[in-house]
């Protein structure tokens, strides 16, 4: 899973995981990389290629997200993806 969503609060991270799994998407909660968001401890890994389905799904369920990021190994870290 090469996509990562950061959140303002873990409440929304857990809800995001529940919503995505319920709709058949791969999702896994991980410790949030500090360089991305200081807001809460957890972030959600997902399939970046499916972001056009995933992000509207979260919006419909009123899950608040902080940012969406893509992992690109060559740049040695996470990069913010255009929303």
């Amino acid at each position: 899973m090469d996509g990562l969503i950061s959140f303002f609060a873990s409440h929304h991270a857990i809800r995001a995981e529940t919503v995505l799994k319920r709709h058949g998407h791969a999702a896994r909660l991980v410790p949030g990389p500090r360089e991305l968001s200081p807001n809460c401890g957890v972030a959600l890994r997902f399939e970046f290629a499916r972001r056009d389905e995933v992000l509207p799904l979260l919006a419909i369920h009123r899950v608040r997200i902080d940012g969406v990021h893509e992992y690109r190994p060559r740049t040695d870290g996470w990069e913010a993806a255009p929303r």
């Binding site: 959140f7 303002f8 609060a9 873990s10 409440h11 929304h12 991270a13 857990i14 809800r15 529940t18 909660l29 991980v30 410790p31 949030g32 200081p38 807001n39 809460c40 401890g41 957890v42 972030a43 369920h61 009123r62 608040r64």
Partner: protein, 395 residues
């Protein structure tokens, strides 16, 4: 033993409640939302599963609008201190619990005008009379969904519509009705719903919460660590974090979740029908008896699973003691933290004996209680009866 004090706290709880608490303590023991490790995530998941279950129960679209508190009193304090400002007019009813009246009487000393709409001797409210009080610019209506003394159900949907018509918000105290009556927050037009976890929802004591309507900003009563927005020294303004400072009672919330899921499986309608059948049986049995006064509405549909009564010639505390010691029946006696409600019913300062029925009670238990009250009433008719004399205190 017959437990008829479910209006104070429900007992027994479904076995899944204690199991969920044990499981949380043994296996999901991290601090929810504070760290990223697996035990922290597991604890956060427990909290969010309960939040979702509560949202489902009250037909709340967005679970983020539910915040956990330690009980309904705490939730009501958050709502009242958050929504009321000096100079505001607040309208309430004369059957409120002290969880509403004490914050309001305190707010009154800070320049808030509190108007109490009198209910009749059955605890019922005249919505027209309520509207008169709301019409002159009240900011808030706060009302119980059902009286904890007489069991009288207030027409919250109608009251909310009247409040909205006059630009007032409505805060509902669902301490007696959450889990025992269907509650659809949007259909009823409720702005804030305060609930306790340990009564109709079958959770442990020390749990409760509030629902805050989408779009309504409720400032916190307590500020502190939330695990979110940690770089800022200012309290987050988003739900539920805004209202959930400090580490939550995760074990309790685990139990609450199991209780709510039990309730969803059984169906709140089934619980309501069961309690209504027991209540009707009890009211009919007691009303047919000499020397017993039963309070509250005659129509069983107009009350929740509560029956308050008194026995001529015996004080409520004497009756309670005899019920417990001679018959193994556990009831609550006295004023039930609701002096205003007792004044309304005409039972202040003596109070009443209260039976609070629950899902696990049976018709046979109600029949046994009716027989016990009949016996106590006959003892009370004999002034020299040793059982009553023994229970009396002399000055």
């Amino acid at each position: 033993m017959i437990y008829f004090d479910n209006a104070a706290t429900s007992w027994p709880k479904p076995p899944s409640v204690a199991a969920a608490i044990r499981e949380q303590m043994a296996g999901a023991g991290g601090n929810p939302g504070r760290s990223g490790h697996r035990l922290s995530i597991a604890a956060a998941r427990v909290v969010e599963e309960t939040r979702e279950a509560v949202a489902r129960l009250f037909h709340i679209d967005n679970p983020s609008r539910v915040a956990f508190t330690t009980n309904a009193t705490h939730a009501l304090n958050v709502a009242l201190y958050g929504l009321i400002r000096p100079g505001d007019r607040v309208v309430t009813t004369s059957v409120e619990h002290n969880s509403v009246m004490r914050p309001l009487r305190h707010l009154e000393t800070t320049g808030v005008c509190v108007e109490v709409v009198p209910c009749d001797a059955n605890g019922s409210i005249d919505v027209g009379r309520l509207e008169d009080r709301l019409a002159s610019g009240a900011r808030l209506l706060v009302a119980t969904h059902a009286s904890n003394v007489a069991g009288t159900i207030l027409p919250i949907g109608e009251m909310a519509a009247v409040a909205r018509r006059h630009g007032a918000r409505i805060v509902v105290d669902a301490a007696q009705t959450a889990g025992t009556m269907p509650i659809h927050v949007a259909a009823l037009g409720i702005d804030v719903l305060a609930f306790t976890g340990h009564k109709g929802l079958f959770g442990p004591t020390g749990t409760g919460g509030l629902y805050v309507r989408e779009g309504l900003e409720l400032p916190p009563l307590v500020r502190g660590g939330t695990g979110s927005d940690s770089a800022h020294e200012v309290q987050p303004d988003f739900m539920p974090d805004a209202l959930e400072s400090g580490t939550l009672n995760v074990a309790g919330i685990a139990g609450l979740g199991a209780g709510v899921r039990f309730l969803i499986d059984v169906g709140v309608e089934a619980v309501q029908a069961h309690e209504r059948a027991l209540t009707t049986r009890c009211v009919e049995g007691l009303r047919a008896m000499e020397g017993i006064a039963v309070y509250g509405p005659a129509d069983p549909v107009a009350r929740c699973g509560i029956v308050s009564f008194s026995v001529a010639g015996a004080s409520p505390s004497e009756v309670g003691l005899l019920l417990d010691e001679s018959f193994g029946i556990l009831a609550r006696t006295g004023l039930h933290c609701a002096p205003a409600a007792h004044r309304t019913l005409g039972t202040f300062p003596t109070g009443t004996v209260r039976f609070g029925f629950g899902w696990f009670n049976t018709a046979a238990e109600v029949d046994a209680a009716i027989d016990a009250v009949r016996q106590i009433a006959s003892w009370a008719r004999t002034p020299s009866n040793a059982r009553l004399r023994n229970a009396q205190w002399t000055a």
